[in-house]
């Protein structure tokens, strides 16, 4: 029996795409770092994006254990950006709070100045 070479090629591509991707160690490290950094800034699992990041990293680790490396990379890549977004949101919220505080201070100063006049 002779197989058409196209099927051999397709089979090889399919295998290469799914099974033989290397373990995404560098990406996992990057993503862990992003999660740690977001946590250090003050992100908690109350932030939806941060919870997503933590969950996806757990998933990525399970994928690595199952040698599902491509899925691990996808999860880790998404987790990295989820964590970065969570961090950005926390920082923006903090700056928003600072802004409110600064406005309150200025209002108070304005009032004092008016009374002083």
């Amino acid at each position: 029996m002779r197989l058409h070479p196209l099927y051999l090629l397709l089979g090889a591509v399919a295998l290469a795409g799914c099974a033989t991707a290397p373990a995404p160690l560098e990406q996992m490290r990057l993503s862990d770092q992003a999660v740690d950094q977001a946590r250090a800034i003050g992100a908690t699992e109350d932030t939806a994006e941060f919870k997503l990041a933590v969950d996806k990293m757990a998933q990525a680790r399970a994928n690595v254990a199952d040698q599902a490396y491509k899925q691990a990379r996808l999860n880790a890549e998404q987790a990295e950006l989820d964590a970065r977004l969570a961090e950005a949101k926390v920082l923006t919220q903090k700056s928003q709070d600072q802004l409110t505080l600064a406005n309150t201070r200025i209002d108070r100063l304005r009032k004092q100045l008016q009374e002083a006049k």
């Binding site: 089979g11 998404q78 977004l85 949101k89 923006t92 700056s95 201070r105 100063l109």
Partner: protein, 271 residues
């Protein structure tokens, strides 16, 4: 097994293998949404100015998603990059808000400094006003003597006869004097004690010195540097009235405070 059947089987197997790790249908809805969000952020001048890297990455991921959506069997990868693009767009938005807030904060900080300065100035102005009021009060109690300059006379109600202890009624005037001296830190004073002519001269001389010193001590207690205070006793010399009447003697029992000029120069002391 005929050849045709084998071919069909293999074709199925190949597509199943690909399908196992990637959907074959391009997720156009998700992609369109990522595209829309990216375009909206891209058109925002603040995003361009404040988060150019993030928005460039959103574009990069979106292009990959578009490319992959065109390939048969890469649907999941397209979805993945569409997701990353959405995230980069959101991150760009957040970084832009953060930077805008920081710009506002910097501006508010300048406002705050300006207001604080204005407030401090207005407080200073009110202190100056009060100092002026005290100065007016003190000056209304003084006379200007041609030889000695500005002289404040503290009458005998400050002391009982023959006594150098200050009466509590002295406090009000002396407090004002302290305020005046604090507001005019270059000025120095000479405190001169005088008595009536009752009693012996030596005793009166000591008594006059003690009275002047009692006033000086009080000023020092209230925070005036003693280096600014010169103390003299003149006994019954230089009466302001004849000692013949009780009223005259009362006026002669006194302490006088001679002020220096603005630069701290006192006129010469009496002999």
């Amino acid at each position: 097994m005929n050849r045709f059947f084998l071919h069909r089987m293999l074709a199925l197997a190949a597509s199943a293998a690909l399908g196992g790790c990637a959907a074959s249908v391009a997720p156009t809805g998700v992609l369109q949404q990522a595209e829309q969000h990216y375009q909206a952020a891209h058109a925002d001048a603040d995003v361009q100015r404040l988060a150019p890297k993030d928005i460039a990455r959103a574009e990069d991921s979106l292009q990959r998603a578009r490319r992959l959506a065109g390939y048969w069997g890469s649907g999941d990868d397209a979805l993945h990059y569409a997701y990353l693009s959405e995230r980069y767009t959101e991150i760009a938005r957040q970084h832009t808000s953060l930077a805008l807030n920081q710009e506002r904060l910097a501006k508010l900080d300048l406002d705050r400094q300006r207001l604080q300065l204005a407030l401090r100035e207005s407080q200073l102005a009110s202190v100056r006003q009060q100092d002026q009021w005290v100065e007016d009060q003190i000056m209304s109690l003084t006379t200007t003597d041609a030889d000695r300059g500005v002289v404040l006379t503290l009458g005998d109600v400050l002391f009982d006869s023959g006594d150098a202890e200050l009466q509590p009624s002295a406090n009000r005037t002396l407090l004002k004097l302290v305020q005046y001296l604090q507001a005019n830190p270059a000025r120095v004073i000479r405190i001169e004690g005088y008595t009536d002519n009752t009693g012996e001269q030596a005793f009166n001389l000591d008594l006059s010195k003690d009275r002047a010193q009692a006033v000086a001590d009080m000023l020092v207690d209230l925070g005036i540097d003693e280096k600014r205070i010169d103390v003299h006793g003149y006994g019954d010399q230089y009466p302001v009235e004849a000692n013949a009447s009780e009223r005259g003697r009362a006026l002669n029992r006194r302490v006088e405070i001679v002020f220096s000029d603005r630069l701290g120069t006192l006129g010469p002391a009496r002999d």
